[in-house]
């Protein structure tokens, strides 16, 4: 178990290095100096308290999205619907924020619960279709992403419309925002918010559920071998629905931390990229909550530093997304590296 653990992280590290090399090549192609580029990229994410705060804030939805993908993946399910679940969770939380007036201490928990349940229900649709009708969850979640996209597209102008703009919701009141004053002051006016505290708590809970409870054991058993799990008396269908439901709920929290933490309202016509970045986070974090946390911080750094890099060097900010996409590609193909390491280990053992 220990060896496997280390090798997963080694593979992730190789994927990151290859991704950074690919980014460097791209910088050279467009006549830029990659050392300068990376220098400004990392400084842009870390050079003062405000930027560190922004890096953490940017990483927050990625932690939730990564946990969501990881949770489903432990049950052998592929949740590529985190984007849609984020939208639905965010939409319902925003609806609460704009229509319910309560003191902050009551309103925030209510929004958290609503975002979790809304995202969870959206996710469990895919789980239900998988369990009852054997509809592949990848296809179902893709369709649900676009249903969510168009739902937000039409619902926001209809019910939550801003005063002047048709394309976004009203701003949520400060009682409904995850941002709080002392945290902002501590990080010199950064948009860091309570989302990160929630993310850490949730990551610990997820790790606990997966590793220390019967539910986690059953979920993983279904993921390893569905037939064997069924034979052992585990209700496979129930676990599939539950897994997608919880994964959806986690993505709903990602939506909350995006729309009520980083942003102050919802824009229509945007499928949040964090849902897809969550897949990268999960792969890079070797599907463990701790790994997810560090991977999300790393991607948060890339995203929050890219603006500074662009301002200083003129390298387009999309370099960050390119690096992330490349990392996913290398993580997908890491089987080869894995096999190479395995062969070398075997050869050494036979010597």
């Amino acid at each position: 178990m220990k060896i496997r653990f280390n090798r997963d992280y080694l593979l992730s590290l190789i994927a990151v290095i290859l991704g950074l090399i690919a980014g460097a090549i791209l910088m050279i192609v467009t006549n830029n100096n990659p050392f300068e580029g990376y220098n400004y990229l990392f400084r842009g994410g870390t050079m003062n308290m405000q930027r560190i705060g922004n890096t953490i804030a940017t990483a927050t939805p990625l932690i939730f999205a990564g946990l969501s993908v990881t949770f489903a993946f432990r049950t052998g399910l592929f949740n590529i619907g985190a984007s849609g679940q984020m939208l639905i969770g965010g939409l319902c939380a925003t609806a609460i924020a704009l229509n319910v007036s309560l003191p902050k201490i009551l309103l925030l928990p209510l929004m958290i619960i609503v975002a979790f349940i809304a995202g969870g229900l959206w996710g469990s649709i895919a789980g239900f279709l998988k369990a009852k009708f054997n509809v592949h969850e990848v296809v179902a979640t893709i369709m649900l992403n676009w249903i969510a996209y168009w739902t937000v597209y039409y619902m926001v102008p209809l019910y939550l419309k801003a005063e002047f703009l048709e394309t976004e919701s009203r701003r949520i009141p400060s009682e409904a925002s995850l941002r709080i004053e002392w945290l902002r002051d501590f990080f010199d006016g950064s948009y860091i918010n309570l989302g990160i505290v929630l993310a850490i708590i949730v990551a610990i809970i997820v790790a606990f559920i997966l590793d220390k409870t019967t539910l986690g054991y059953e979920l993983k058993a279904v993921g390893y071998n569905r037939t064997a799990a069924e034979t052992a008396g585990i209700d496979v269908n129930r676990n599939i629905m539950l897994s997608m439901g919880i994964a959806g709920g986690l993505a709903g929290l990602a939506g909350l931390s995006l729309y009520a933490g980083i942003a102050t309202n919802m824009q229509i016509g945007v499928l949040p990229m964090q849902g897809f970045d969550g897949i990268a986070v999960s792969l890079l974090g070797a599907n463990s909550p701790l790994g997810v946390f560090f991977a999300a911080i790393f991607f948060g750094l890339l995203h929050s530093g890219k603006g500074f890099m662009t301002a200083m060097t003129g390298i387009p900010p999309e370099i960050a997304d390119t690096i992330i996409a490349t990392i996913i590609y290398f993580a997908a193909t890491s089987v080869v590296v894995d096999r190479f390491l395995e062969n070398r280990r075997k050869r050494r053992e036979t010597k």
């Binding site: 791209l26 467009t30 592929f78 590529i80 279709l129 009708f133 054997n134 509809v135 592949h136 990848v138 296809v139 179902a140 893709i142 369709m143 649900l144 992403n145 676009w146 249903i147 996209y149 168009w150 739902t151 597209y153 039409y154 619902m155 499928l271 897809f276 897949i279 990268a280 792969l283 390298i315 387009p316 999309e318 370099i319 960050a320 997304d321 390119t322 992330i324 996409a325 490349t326 996913i328 590609y329 993580a331 997908a332 193909t333 089987v335 080869v336």
Partner: protein, 315 residues
């Protein structure tokens, strides 16, 4: 109402054609056993390549620029698809993760390059394909107006490709081999078929088709590259599933979805349609696909070996 239908029809067809060719591309890939959820990214890279080529050539050779652009679109799609094929076929990677990587790479890389070149990230072209009436056929009452008036040449090219693909897949040896690789690769291998090669070819064809689809969006109705194809690649994927992985099926499915999307797009300016909620028109392709999947799950026509990397050593 008929008058309205006649008015909408040419737009619906223009919207359907890129979907159709992309979905057809997906058909090649998935029939050979490789899932391709990278269609969205492949379309986008085609759109980008076409915009880049045409914007460079339109001053010097305005007559040919569009066709070079479409060629570039197909080539760019094929090239990116090669990356997907390499991961899925040679490296036995997870086909879904690779497809996601293709989508994300395409979305990031095209905008990165566009920004590095133009500064704004948008590439506009000044010329577009002109609409033409087909002689004689467009004179036929009603049908002439609906199908043969104001058509783009690309529409007929795509329909020809569809017909040729049907012939290739169902009437020629290569098509039989391709489908065999998607149903039972081990048997295909035992029969002397090079499964790896067939899958490579199929995935590259799918990239070329999807790239062409992106290029057609540019030269017919969009006129600019702005970093997204707004989910059309996923709509093409839905059409592929809804059409049950058959050429005629995807023709009907893409037209059905294309027509619905067109109605949704124009419903605000046409009073007769204003009372159909846009949300229903826009979401129903996806809802229908889910429902179709529920009903077809037991007798699914999906290729049997879809998604499984083929490993010669495993029997």
């Amino acid at each position: 109402m008929l008058e309205l239908l006649i008015q909408i029809f040419p737009y619906a067809i223009a919207f359907t054609i890129p979907l159709l060719i992309t979905s057809l591309g997906g058909l090649f890939s998935e029939r050979s056993g490789v899932i391709n959820i990278g269609l969205e990214g492949l379309m986008l890279v085609g759109l980008f390549a076409a915009a880049l080529t045409i914007s460079q050539l339109e001053r010097t050779m305005p007559g040919q620029a569009i066709w070079w652009g479409l060629l570039a679109a197909a080539l760019a799609g094929a090239l990116l698809a090669l990356l997907h094929a390499f991961a899925c076929v040679t490296l036995h990677a997870n086909q879904i993760i690779s497809g996601i990587a293709i989508n994300m790479t395409s979305a990031a890389l095209t905008v990165y390059l566009a920004r590095a070149m133009t500064g704004s990230g948008n590439i506009q072209i000044m010329i577009g394909l002109s609409r033409r009436n087909i002689p004689f056929l467009s004179e036929i009452p009603i049908i002439g107006k609906m199908l043969f008036s104001g058509t783009y040449l690309t529409t007929w090219i795509v329909l020809f490709i569809l017909l040729a693909s049907w012939f290739l897949l169902y009437r020629m040896v290569f098509g039989l081999r391709l489908r065999a690789c998607g149903e039972h690769p081990h048997a295909a291998d035992a029969a002397g078929i090079n499964v790896y090669l067939v899958r490579y070819i199929a995935v590259i064809i799918s990239g070329a088709c999807a790239g062409l689809g992106g290029g057609i969006i540019l030269v017919t109705y969009s006129g600019e590259f702005n970093g997204t194809v707004a989910g059309l690649g996923f709509l093409a994927l839905a059409s592929l599933i809804f059409g049950q992985w058959r050429p005629l099926g995807i023709l009907l499915a893409t037209f059905f979805f294309g027509f619905a999307s067109t109605i949704a797009n124009v419903s605000q300016v046409i009073p007769e349609l204003a009372n159909i909620p846009g949300i229903i028109l826009k979401t129903f392709p996806y809802v229908f696909t889910l429902i179709a999947l529920v009903f077809s799950a037991k007798s699914s026509q999906a290729p049997k070996a879809i998604g499984e990397p083929y490993d010669k050593g495993k029997r």
